[in-house]
Symmetry: C2
Subunit: 147 residues, 2 copies
């Protein structure tokens, strides 16, 4: 079922299924996009303040958004996003962690210039398997109105 | 040469080398992390407002940070980041585009609780091969003080 702009209500919460992130995935992502020592070298990472390998924060953004898409909230109605705000990495994501995300609708605003769409503001909170917050961010999603 | 907290000055600018992003890379990234139609289906993407395949915004974040690391500014001194703010996708990134990033030091602040580090606030602006801005964001980087 496609959710259109009209279907989003302030306060709606969407909870995603989980995604487990392995050591291999952490290193693969970081080798390509964020090859800092605490993301790619399990030995040297022990000497950093993190005490071991942790996922790139950008990897955590990617997993968060992927998990949120699994809720189906944006399926068939998303026209992309103009940006994110207030992105905070609150706890390290470690090999073997399982992440899920809760997206909460903060606000919605019909476009004044384009009749076919509106913007839905969503706070994404990512949790690990101990239900500890690992990341939060606020994103604007452009959503089609019902045709 | 390692740049320590003391070496960063407000107004310093770091310009990265370029990275070319191919259609295959756009689809590979999106299949894993952001499988929306305008990121993975070149045919259906023609019927969206983007008129064709574009890179996931999260892919653009990843490429931006990767390019910035190539400047060496964070080499050996970075202790990670507490977060990003004001992330804006300004123009679509299309297959074949070549991105580079300019990082500008906005502010620096020594940690009051930890003698060995400080926070450097950096505005990242990503450009394509036509020197058009495609993305901006502001990030805080935790940087070691000179030992």
């Amino acid at each position: 079922m496609i959710l259109y702009f009209e279907d989003f209500e302030v306060g709606h919460r969407f909870r995603s299924p989980g995604i487990t992130v392995t050591e291999g995935q952490i290193i693969d992502f970081a080798m390509r996009y964020d090859p800092q020592v605490f993301h790619i070298d399990a030995e040297a990472a022990k000497t950093t303040p993190y005490g071991g390998l942790i996922a790139s924060g950008i990897h955590t953004i990617a997993l968060t958004f992927r998990a949120f898409l699994m809720t189906g909230a944006l399926e068939g109605s998303s026209l992309g996003s103009p940006g994110f705000d207030e992105l905070r990495w609150l706890r390290p994501v470690q090999p073997g962690d399982t992440l899920y995300v809760v997206g909460e609708v903060l606000e919605k605003k019909a476009s004044s210039s384009r009749q076919d769409r509106g913007v839905v503001r969503i706070r994404y909170t990512s949790y690990n398997q101990r239900d500890e917050e690992v990341m939060t961010m606020v994103g604007n999603q452009i959503i089609r109105r019902r045709p």
